[in-house]
Symmetry: C2
């Protein structure tokens, strides 16, 4: 079901997300998006004023989906009272979702947008940074009680390492043309964190 009830707008957004993630923002034209969405110029410009406007709406939708994923992992593990067990279960939640993720997308829209100089300093890039910080704060909140005051560990860097693993994982999958590399990377990341919490 389209998220906002307008099937044409949703079809254009889906096509644009796939094309831009697959081939980059600059390399994607409005005409390509219209063709991939089986839409028309009239319908496109009814919903979006320009390619940049499309990108802004695409980012808003992508961030909402990303934050929903964070909430899902937090909710799925909220019943666990042992801090270390909750961290491990939280990471395993994304590990278990990795193969499905790779059928849905070939890369991350954040990386696509961050690769474009024209968005440097834009509201869109601010939104990516805010979203990454939201993940960092939430994961750091799970990690702190599990780490029990280890002063040699930068908790925020450790929290960011999940984002790093996702972003690097997408590039590794492209490097080897092997989508199963995402799951393998999230698994090794979870095992590394388990070792740290157990040590």
């Amino acid at each position: 079901m389209p998220r906002d009830g307008n099937p044409t707008r949703e079809r254009i957004l889906r096509a644009a997300e796939r094309l831009m993630t697959d081939q980059g923002y600059s390399a994607t034209s409005v005409d390509q998006v219209i063709a991939a969405a089986a839409s028309s110029k009239g319908a496109f410009f009814h919903h979006f004023s320009s390619k940049t406007d499309l990108a802004v709406h695409l980012m808003r939708r992508y961030v909402a989906g990303d934050l929903a994923q964070l909430d899902a992992g937090l909710t799925a593990t909220a019943h666990l009272t042992d801090p270390a067990a909750r961290v491990v279960a939280f990471l395993r939640y994304y590990e278990d979702g990795a193969d499905h993720l790779m059928t849905e997308q070939s890369g991350c829209l954040y990386a696509t947008v961050l690769a474009e100089r024209e968005f440097t300093g834009s509201e869109m890039n601010d939104e990516i940074a805010r979203t990454a910080r939201t993940w960092r704060d939430a994961v750091a909140g799970l990690l702190r009680p599990a780490l029990g005051g280890r002063r040699d560990i930068d908790v925020e860097a450790l929290a960011d390492h999940l984002y790093t693993t996702f972003e690097g994982g997408f590039i590794l999958c492209r490097t080897y043309a092997d989508p199963s590399a995402m799951r393998a990377q999230l698994r090794i990341h979870r095992q590394l964190v388990e070792a740290l919490l157990g040590s």
Copy 2:
């Protein structure tokens, strides 16, 4: 000193690498490269037949630099006889070089090229995969004796996690507009591997 003895060719390659890494391959025109290199169309086409030809030569140069970095880390730690100590020292070699790396480049040419659909299945993408496998085999060779036959760990995935950390680290640096995030990510990665080897 220019690596091949031709200063104009080297200046064009350096300018192209910076522009393409900063703003993407599609968004970078030959005219922009010529302007950034303070060169001319005549000089450009004396050295390169097209933008694609430039990219091929750029990749060849980048891969050579990348493999030299791998050799440097292996050589710097070759004297260490304890397998775990060598792994940790090897990872620390790149951690110590992270701040310098981030003054030299804002991203990885591999990620830039892999983001372009036009290179899918190309010799260039094959070369990226071959180089990533060279790193994986070398790092796995260091990890195997240090892990002492732990069967729950996918040694190749753990070896790939260094590449994942570099690639994800570049994107994290862009996300926060903070080049120091690369060093923090390589540090936490080294600490995680240390915990795994010590556990």
